[in-house]
Amino acid sequence: MFGYVRPPQDLPEEERRRFGRAYCGLCHALGERYGPAARFILNYDFTFLAILLSDPEEGPVHHGRCAAHPVHGRDRLETTPALALAADESVILAYWQLRDGVEDHDWLHGLKYRGVSALLEPAYRRAAQARPDFDGSTRRQLALLAELEREGCPSMDRAADTFAVLLRGAAGEVQEPVRRRVLEQLLYHLGRWVYLVDGADDLKRDAASGSYNPVALRYGLTQGLWTEESRRSFAATLDHSIHMMATAFELWDFGVWTPVLERTLYSGLFQVGKAVLDGTFRTGRSKKTTPALEQGGDTQERDT
């Protein structure tokens, strides 16, 4: 479910570097709070979450070396309460995503998920203790989603709602009421968008394995192939969620993070959605270098 939210490739250099500092800052916060093994969950999606939760100012920057950049080092944000929150929530999300992988596969194919989730388990236990509300709501929503999958729920919106509500919970600790409303609305539709794009991305694989796919059910697709009409209708529903994210985004001052968030919402999501619909997303990302990597964010970007 991760790997779809990323800044556009034409991000200006200054913003690319700023994004890289947040990426390295989150990596450091993960290592600091949960040990080096937790750093492997780092991705752009979690960095985006960290930025959304961050204060309008960037805060102190530290230059340091790490295992991935032992010689020249990298600039990174010092750990702030927002980065700590994002790190904790990222561990919870990544852990349950891995457990979901265990449930979805037979014993043999589930081995890698079982192994990695066991590795992450001590970190998860601490994160769940630190953020019990988010952990509780995440478990509830994933249980609900599993039930809908078992039933073969034909409503794309109902299925997507489970993941959307789950992600909305990431703003649960935000105190300021207006900021919280804005973030909850933005994260709800980000969750909906991610769930739907993931469904579209898995169309062919799910068709081959006979797995539940809400997008295929909604449009009655056979063999995971789009018709022109269904493709257009699906793109429209993605656009409706992006519109909702954008209208929420415009109602709060995200300070120095405004340009990178603006470019991601108004360009990055369109680009990813289009690539998924065109079937070029998976091939594209194995070949292209992503923005933070170019400027040396880290080498640990991966699709969980």
Partner: protein, 198 residues
């Protein structure tokens, strides 16, 4: 009141044309159409009031302190509700109060599944974020009562509205990175294609 120039994001030395351009850009961003049925519409309305007041104030100062001749975008926030049965009126009130569960249970208990019922189901779905189902309810409402301007407006805003995007660029997944923007948008999802479903 905050500094009106700061509200519009410009300096005091901005020309009249720059003031107007900044105002138009912000007014497009927070326009009621861009927040139609949006759960955050109240916040956008506050923004719009602030922008209108700032624009009025700058014009007043520049015209020598008299009453400003220009007027900002106004109105558009109030839903225009036609006559409807008392149950549906209660549903509308519940939606306006943000009580979607009550609106939904009232609709589910209603035996009248006419055009208005579908429209209101659509409005509940839209606010909840169930955009695919919202669109389909609006479509059914318009098919059942093609002449109703309220239903048609809701559908048109979903299907062919012009969502704000900075710099006036087209808004849409199928247009992403497409150099043939006009061709793409002639019949699909971007502001170029303001199409009417009915």
């Amino acid at each position: 009141m905050n500094d009106p120039y700061q509200v519009l994001g410009i300096s005091e030395s901005a020309t009249d044309e720059e003031v107007k351009r900044a105002y138009r850009e912000l007014a497009r961003k927070y326009h009621p159409d861009n927040y139609h049925d949006n759960p955050l519409a109240d916040l956008a309305q506050e923004k719009m009031k602030e922008i209108n007041a700032a624009y009025e104030e700058i014009n007043r100062r520049r015209s020598g302190g008299g009453r400003s001749a220009s007027s900002g975008y106004g109105g558009g926030w109030q839903q225009q509700y036609g006559g409807s049965s008392s149950t549906f009126q209660q549903v509308r009130t519940a939606i306006q109060m943000g009580d979607l569960s009550r609106a939904e249970s009232l609709l589910n208990a209603s035996g009248d599944h006419g055009a208005e019922w579908h429209f209101l189901k659509g409005a509940v779905c839209y606010r909840r974020g169930w955009m695919d189902e919202a669109l389909r309810y609006y479509q059914t409402a318009c098919q059942m009562e093609p002449g109703n301007p309220e239903y048609r407006r809701a559908l048109n805003l979903m299907q062919g509205g012009s969502p704000y995007r900075p710099g006036g660029e087209n808004f849409g997944t199928l247009c992403a990175g497409n150099p043939c923007m006009t061709l793409c948008c002639a019949y699909t999802l971007c502001n170029g294609g303001y199409c009417c479903f009915i």
